[in-house]
């Protein structure tokens, strides 16, 4: 379950729907991670570009990994502008066991940060500025730069 929304996420709606949808499915642990835009460096908000075809494949691989452990992963993310103190990201693990859930949410959130094809921009003084310093090259980057 991968959900993309224009602008801020409706966190109560999403969390409660996911919780309700899985309530009878015998998962002992449910761990959502909710990411909210922090007020810092004078930004008005953040903005996101997403390349959906590769995000879909990345997420499908994670669904398979979770399923192999009897667990389930869900994710929601914003496209476009999200204001300070609004939420742009939810990831969630449902698992029979707490330890699996704790391990998977950590691994998912870190791999998401390193690999998901999403680009972040600061919204500041009416400009949309690529957050280059906080961005991470995807593993294997630089292939085309090896040639002169």
């Amino acid at each position: 379950m991968l959900e993309l929304y224009d602008n801020a996420l409706n966190v109560p709606e999403i969390l409660m729907r996911w919780y309700g949808d899985e309530a009878q499915n015998n998962y002992g642990a449910f761990i959502p991670f909710v990411g909210t835009v922090r007020e810092e460096s004078g930004i008005e908000g953040l903005s996101f570009d997403i390349y959906e075809p590769i995000l879909d494949r990345w997420f499908e691989a994670w669904q398979a990994r979770a399923k192999a452990e009897g667990a389930m992963v869900k994710m929601a993310h914003s496209k476009g502008d999200v204001k300070v103190h609004e939420s742009s990201y939810i990831a969630a693990i449902f698992s029979p066991k707490r330890r699996t859930a704790l391990e998977l949410i950590g691994a998912f959130v870190e791999d998401f940060k390193a690999s998901a094809p999403i680009w972040k921009y600061d919204l500041k003084d009416g400009e949309r500025l690529y957050a280059k310093d906080r961005s991470t090259p995807i593993s294997g980057s630089g292939l085309l730069g090896a040639v002169q």
Partner: protein, 73 residues
């Protein structure tokens, strides 16, 4: 012809070129100073699969995507 897309903050129009491997694409893009600055930090996908070798063969109609550094969340 293959189709080349520059994603996210690269903010450049896509282009079409003749190429039989990624090596050909690399040589062409290194001639563009604006693109060249990104190449060291870009990942590359062919038809939405990330690839890791310049020898990756290309077929007419293939879509090549350049993915600059990411930061979701």
């Amino acid at each position: 012809m293959v189709h080349i897309e520059f994603l996210g903050p690269m903010n450049k129009e896509s282009l079409d070129m003749e190429a039989s491997t990624l090596q050909d694409v690399a040589e062409r893009l290194n001639q563009d100073d604006e693109v060249k600055a990104w190449l060291q930090t870009c990942a590359v996908a062919v038809n939405d699969m990330l690839v890791s070798s310049l020898d990756t063969p290309l077929n007419p109609g293939d879509k090549i995507s350049l993915l600059p550094p990411v930061c979701g969340g």
